[in-house]
């Protein structure tokens, strides 16, 4: 595993360098503060130890100016650090348009990965060098967390919703993937590898293996198999919302709220159809809870994504 060089963690993503810069800066600042305090304590302890001949006249028990200063100075430094970290954080949640989606379903105790073209793998994630990748993730059971130390990214993978993580790998190699949210007996064994390959090697790799017909095509088959088209297609006699181009569209709900349809909304509509009912429609859709696997839900979503213009610039839920 090429994750470590000389005992330090490698920087293998575009976010890693900025991360390490902030980490180093904060280490230096806090280290300096700690050293100054330690030095003062040490110095005072020696100079003012009992019996020493230091000048102890007029010992102060307060100094408003000094106290104000050492309240405000840290405040300013802290706000600066907060701002820097906040900006970097916002970037982590703002995937570039055109990032390649990869779907991850976590379960006790493995990572199931699927690419848009249908290629699947377990406990391994191949990604192209230099190209942004966006993971769309959910869990089949308990909360897990997708953690790649070399990329400096981590995101909890939560059952019942989609969470998302994006990165751009900047260094070829193989890196650790850890589950970082305790999930039971096999938690420490729920590890994998992230393999970064040059873009053309990746493209070649992607075509191999049993890809089937691609996720969106699979989704279309499922759309018919599960009876979705019975209500949601143009010729249906049932009054059901049109799903063409749903992703990214603003939806008006029955209780007056509006939202922008994202992957999570579609999943909820399949599993908990009474949760956010569209205005003007009766809540007659049956729930598919327990009948459709998470992978099939993702396939359906990909199919819906392909039916319309793709506005993929929403915040993840």
């Amino acid at each position: 595993m090429s994750g470590h060089t000389h005992g330090l963690l490698v920087q293998a993503s575009s976010a890693a360098a900025r991360f390490d810069a902030l980490m180093l800066t904060l280490t230096l600042i806090t280290g300096a503060m700690a050293l100054v305090l330690a030095a003062l304590i040490f110095f005072f302890s020696i100079r003012y130890r009992k019996g020493s001949k230091a000048d102890r006249s007029n010992p102060p028990s307060g100094a408003k100016g000094l106290e104000a200063a050492w309240t405000l100075a840290p405040l300013v430094i802290f706000i600066a650090i907060f701002a820097w970290a906040a900006v970097d954080y916002m970037r982590l949640y703002d995937p570039p348009a055109g990032a390649m989606p990869v779907f991850v379903v976590a379960k006790q105790w493995m990572w199931k990965v699927e690419y848009p073209n249908g290629r699947r793998e377990i406990d391994e994630l191949h990604v192209p060098l230099g190209k942004p990748v966006k993971l769309v993730m959910t869990s089949q059971d308990v909360i897990h967390s997708f953690f790649v130390p070399a990329f400096r990214v981590k995101q909890d993978v939560v059952p019942g919703r989609y969470t998302s993580l994006w990165f751009k790998a900047t260094r070829a190699g193989t890196y650790h993937l850890f589950c970082a949210e305790y999930c039971g007996t096999g938690h420490s064994a729920m590890r994998g590898r992230v393999i970064v390959m040059p873009a053309d090697a990746f493209a070649h790799w992607l075509q191999q293996g049993n890809t089937g017909s691609g996720i969106a095509a699979q989704g279309f088959a499922l759309f018919r198999k599960y009876g979705c088209s019975g209500c949601h297609s143009a010729g249906s006699t049932v009054h059901a919302p049109d799903l063409t181009g749903l992703l990214g569209r603003t939806v008006h709900l029955q209780d007056g709220r509006t939202l922008v349809a994202d992957e999570g909304y579609i999943r909820d509509s399949i599993m908990l159809p009474r949760k956010d009912v569209v205005a003007g429609y009766a809540p007659i859709m049956p729930s598919y809870q327990g009948q459709i696997s998470e992978e099939d839900v993702l396939a359906l979503i990909e199919y819906i994504r392909q039916t319309g213009a793709d506005h993929d610039d929403r915040q993840p839920r």
């Binding site: 003012y48 019996g51 953690f147 919703r161």
Partner: protein, 550 residues
């Protein structure tokens, strides 16, 4: 602070029996188990939490032993999961939260304000019984097969997937929570209504302020935990969808409810320890605490703002990024009052006359270790940094620096400082200092490597790990063995001192504070007559201490 009686000389060897005090007035078991005396109840708590500390410590020992090698060769996966759960549950709820308030607070609060007892002595005794009952339920859960959810009980694992004694341990913690609430209520009412004449709020010792602020958190936050645990139990029993998404619930709802209590809980654990340090440093520097007013505002500020930062445990949980921004900013703000306190303690040393007694070593150790713990908290408050560092050993190191390097060191310091008052005996000073140094060294060796482990990416709650993490783990476990020795030593010499220790007078440290104006050990009603207070606390003068006036 002023009262009439001068320091009494300790009774000479071979003198007639020692005068009657709270301890020797009745040795019967019944008198102990039905006591209303806050001092006896404090000792009852001390024994109880010592037992729990030992059990939690055994769990930690096995954990550190296992982690010497990358493979899971000492215990099974399930056993390991049960061990870290037991360690967390016991150390947080059965040791740290009650430690300073229920032992030192119970013993000292009435004395520090010149009262004969707390406002509600029977409620105090009841709180101990409730604590023991809750502790027994918790131990039962552990003995009857254990619990493997982690002390944080995240759902849906704890509600739908774990097949261990979850409900039993929830019951245990629920019951112990009521003990906390009762203690907090008692302290608040006592400080408000029973201060001696002349003892205004801004003449109170900082130990009283600290426990008062802690009590506010105790009474407001603990009920939320109680209800949250009830909901987890009900979901487990009835299979209703509150937190389980498969039934329409929301796992993040649990996290919000849990952390709404559990973040203020860490201030329950650390504020009292700050109070202890604020008593020790002025005494052994022979100087008033620097910036008393700011210190009190800082205590209150930490208590209040501490309620507003819980979301910093959830930056990668799926919580909204905008919530993350707010929680991060507030988390930086709550660090400011803590920083002020550290600066003030340091400034207290300036132009003082310092002796390095065991309590002082613990107090200075606290300042250093709490500073490191607090500064590393800034890393975790930083959103982008937390993404990488959360759920790794960096967090484990951070909170152990505060909880162990901070709170436990302060507890030990307080026990040593007030030992003569509580027992009427001095402990052997050399051994006290040796233990303090051992603990300081052992602690740093145990937990500093864990910051590096966390940055390198080792996740927490890992039973097995990739071999590249082994060196740092070995260092950490080696440190733990030194730390263990450091904790065992006081058990020996403090126990020894009960029988052979030099008898202490009322004020062996020449400290200010009303508690030092009574005999050691104190009589049942603490004071012959209620003292009258005419000055603020910490009336130390280094010039007088070293015998010259400059």
């Amino acid at each position: 602070m002023t009262t009439a009686s001068p320091a009494e000389a300790p009774p000479a060897a071979g003198a007639p029996r020692e005068p009657e005090n709270y301890f020797n007035r009745d040795f019967s078991l019944k008198s102990w188990l039905t006591t209303h005396d806050h001092k006896r109840i404090a000792l009852l708590y001390m024994v109880a939490i010592l037992v729990f500390f030992f059990i939690g410590g055994v769990a930690a020992t096995i954990i550190r032993l296992e982690l010497v090698t990358p493979a899971g060769d000492l215990v099974s996966d399930d056993t390991y999961d049960k061990l870290f759960t037991a360690h967390g549950v016991i150390m947080v709820w059965m040791f740290l939260i009650p430690s300073i308030p229920s032992v030192l607070g119970n013993f000292l609060m009435p004395m520090m304000i010149g009262a004969r007892d707390l406002a509600f002595p029977r409620l105090n005794l009841a709180s101990w019984y409730v604590f023991v009952a809750g502790g027994i339920f918790t131990l039962l859960a552990l003995v009857l097969g254990g619990v493997d959810t982690g002390w944080t009980f995240y759902t849906p694992f704890s509600t739908m997937f774990s097949n261990t004694n979850v409900i039993l341990v929830l019951l245990g913690v629920f019951i112990v929570g009521f003990s906390s609430i009762m203690t907090g209520l008692n302290f608040i009412v006592t400080v408000h209504t029973m201060r001696a004449p002349g003892l205004t709020w801004f003449r109170l010792p900082l130990f009283v302020w600290a426990n008062y602020a802690t009590s506010i958190i105790l009474v407001l936050a603990t009920p939320v935990l109680a209800m949250t645990l009830v909901l987890v139990g009900l979901e487990r029993l009835l299979q209703v969808g509150i937190f389980d998404p498969a039934l329409g619930g929301d796992p993040l709802l649990f996290q919000h409810l849990f952390w709404f209590y559990s973040h203020p809980a860490v201030y329950i654990m650390v504020l009292p320890s700050m109070g202890v340090v604020s008593e020790i440093i002025p005494c052994f520097a022979r100087k008033r605490v620097f910036g008393y007013r700011f210190m009190t505002y800082a205590i209150l500020g930490i208590a209040v703002v501490g309620f507003l930062v819980w979301g910093h445990h959830m930056f990668v949980s799926g919580q909204s990024v905008y919530a993350g921004l707010v929680f991060s900013l507030l988390s930086f703000l709550v660090a400011i009052p803590s920083a002020i306190k550290v600066f003030n303690w340091t400034a207290t040393l300036y132009k003082g006359s310092i002796t390095f007694s065991a309590p002082m070593l613990y107090a200075l150790g606290f300042v250093g270790l709490f500073t490191i713990g607090g500064l590393t908290g800034l890393f975790l408050a930083s959103l982008a940094l937390d993404v990488h560092l959360t759920d790794t050993y960096f967090v484990v190191a951070h909170f152990h620096y505060i909880m162990v390097g901070g709170a436990v060191m302060a507890y030990m310091g307080g026990i040593h400082f007030w030992w003569p008052k509580i027992t009427g005996r001095m402990y052997p000073e050399i051994w006290g200092r040796v233990a303090a140094v051992l603990i300081f060294v052992g602690f740093n060796l145990t937990f500093f490597p864990q910051f590096l482990l966390g940055y390198e990416g080792m996740p927490r709650r890992y039973h097995t790990y990739p071999p590249q993490f082994q060196t740092l783990n070995i260092l950490s476990s080696a440190g733990a063995s030194i730390l263990a020795l450091g904790y065992l030593l006081p058990l020996c010499y403090l126990g020894w001192s009960l029988f052979r220790g030099e008898r202490a007078g009322p004020n062996p440290w020449h400290a200010t504070g009303l508690e030092w104006q009574t005999p050691s050990p104190p009589p049942k009603d603490n004071f012959e007559e209620t003292p009258v207070v005419t000055e603020g606390p910490y009336g130390y003068t280094p010039e007088i201490a070293i015998g010259i006036v400059r």
